[in-house]
Symmetry: C2
Subunit: 377 residues, 2 copies
């Protein structure tokens, strides 16, 4: 089976590695170069997008910031999953908020801001503190502003107005600031028959707005149930096919949706070692019409992102339960270069192994890990 992935980064690469054992071969559309490449070797395959779509049995995406004409072309092929509507909802916070509202799923109260009147109304209607997020192309904490004090509003509006002026399509979604205790995510899959399989809820830790660590341990049943219910509502609303990720804020035991990602997700990389079938294989199964696999937690696991580094100390490879995943990328400050998965028989052993790993990693490149290890109890 042949699958074309929109996007040629690490997610397409890991789909390629997961697909090969199922005789699913992956080609990838590099949005920047407009070329079709092999996602593992990055070798150009010499076909244009139109031919690549025609040659593929299935088209899917590894990210949501895709030019609209490309989405339309894929949608017209009739073999694009999860499809244009889902990808757009993941790439535009206005559509995302509409989706969450129509699915009846809780998220932060919001107001769309296109001009100064909207900006003022957002403050009046929602109160402070507020978070202003760009509607398009915002990820990893980029394109976000916070407003805590009324006297900062005028200056902030100047910044936001300048930002809006750069792009006619752009808008801002103003959201009530949520004083959350934890950030969680749920990764799951839905197939064309409407069957659902979700992984255990993952606890995520960000540093400077970028995911640093995800923890998947024996779950809190109440949170798992809430997350699954919201996942089902969103996935069914979209008639979704493929792997979908939903990020949540936890506030006093209640979940609110932060955002959705209509694709495999960084906070699901632990499934490569910790779950029965990993998210990359599961996504391919869903979009290719194969039976969904078990999402059971095989071993408590965690993932540490490698950001901006192209080496790690070799001795970490000798640690039991450790797996290193490089993405074959050229080093650049802050870039997601790879990740480390750690698995263990139980939470106590996982904590012990995490502490062994932390002791070997340079703190400058891997900050705040010790605090995160203290969460494992």
């Amino acid at each position: 089976m042949k699958v074309l992935v929109l996007g040629a980064g690490q997610l397409a690469r890991m789909m390629s590695l997961a697909g090969a054992p199922l005789n699913i071969s992956i080609s990838a559309y590099d949005v920047n170069s407009d070329a079709i490449v092999h996602p593992l070797t990055q070798q150009q395959l010499g076909t244009g997008l139109t031919k690549a779509i025609a040659d593929a049995d299935v088209v899917t995406a590894e990210f949501e910031h895709i030019p609209l004409p490309v989405l339309a072309l894929c949608q017209a092929s009739g073999k694009f999953f999860p499809g244009e509507t889902a990808i757009k909802a993941g790439g535009d916070r206005r559509l995302e908020k509409q989706l969450l509202d129509s699915a009846g799923v809780r998220s932060a109260a919001y107001h769309i801001v296109n001009n100064e009147a909207d900006f003022k109304q957002a403050i009046q209607q929602l109160g402070l503190p507020l978070v202003f997020k760009s509607a398009l192309a915002g990820y990893d904490g980029k394109g976000q502003w916070r407003l805590k004090q009324p006297e900062q509003a005028a200056a902030l509006w100047q910044d936001i107005a300048a930002f809006l002026a750069t792009d006619q399509q752009q808008a801002i979604v103003a959201e009530q600031f949520i004083p959350f205790q934890r950030e969680l995510s749920l990764i799951g899959a839905r197939n064309a028959k409407g069957q659902l399989q979700v992984y255990p809820v993952t606890e995520n830790h960000h540093v400077n707005g970028v995911l640093s660590v995800s923890l998947a341990v024996a779950g809190n049943e109440s949170l798992q149930q809430q997350a699954q219910q919201m996942f089902s509502a969103v996935a069914n609303q979209l008639n979704y096919v493929g792997v979908l990720a939903i990020e949540f804020f936890e506030v006093d035991g209640q979940l609110l949706v932060n955002e959705i990602a209509p694709r495999v997700h960084n906070s699901g990389h632990w499934t490569q070692q910790g779950a029965d079938v990993c998210q990359f294989e599961q996504h391919l199964r869903a979009v290719c019409g194969l039976p969904l696999g078990s999402t059971a937690l095989v071993r408590p696991s965690l993932m540490v992102n490698i950001l901006g580094e192209d080496t790690v100390p070799q001795p970490i490879l000798a640690l039991p339960g450790l797996h290193l995943h490089w993405y074959g990328k050229t080093k650049r400050a802050g870039r997601k270069m790879g990740h480390i998965n750690v698995s263990a028989a139980d939470t106590a052993q996982l904590k012990q192994r995490f502490l062994q790993l932390i002791a070997l990693l340079p703190e400058s490149a891997f900050p705040e890990l010790t605090q995160m290890a203290q969460r494992l109890n």
Copy 2:
């Protein structure tokens, strides 16, 4: 890091999949076409063997039946692991028997047969029944003859003489027939520092001389100890670097070596899901000078070979703990096309899952599985 693998079959392919996350890129030398190919895509890479060796950081092999000039060329590069001597010992039963003798490791009593006088002496010296095995290029039960009754000797000699006449380099190793209860194997790795890591002993079931099922469950400590001791003796004798497989006969709780394979091995495919670090990654770690990984059994597991079939019933993918591994090959009768790994929390669950799988597989293509499932207790 760049690794060149001699041989471009499924073992090189699975090394490629295991190496990518470590940023180890694999090219493969197809002995039949004399071409350098990508082991996953089989795309020709346009470099000759000499340049491919020069470009590689490390050279290794996925099989032992390699032309001697190729072995010599690789050996001269100084970066060939496990190296010429080990590969030759795996490809020539005469050298293999010498190796086992000098390592002080038990195997069936034998006699080398080059002519009729040797043939008669083998019968006289070893007694009947005997197994005659071709010294070169014999695998999966090919190039083997059995002699049970003295009156069959003359006719058998005619067959063997005709076989020997086809190849000047060929010889026969006559071995005492071993009335074994089980066939076992031990896969392990040795690095350049002499460190060893072995997996749990695997129980293997052959049908018509070809491996059908491997079982890796909680071990028999005495057999594990014997196997490890013999593994160490052979690996140290060869100053071995890489993954090495040793097949054993079990006779009344005692092990004798059947044969060695200086490479990753079909009976170790279960490690992809059942062990901490799989044999393919472990081999690459050893030959690339990276730390060896943990070989701990994560979950009791088994492997079923897919022989001569290019489809399996799709519903098997819904079984928990099941992983399907296709090799991307064109269908041919009896050909190793892929394998199925099954893992579970304990032996009882593994048996239950195996029986669920058996119920879904066509018995004609997967014979004798039910008998094998009965071994799981």
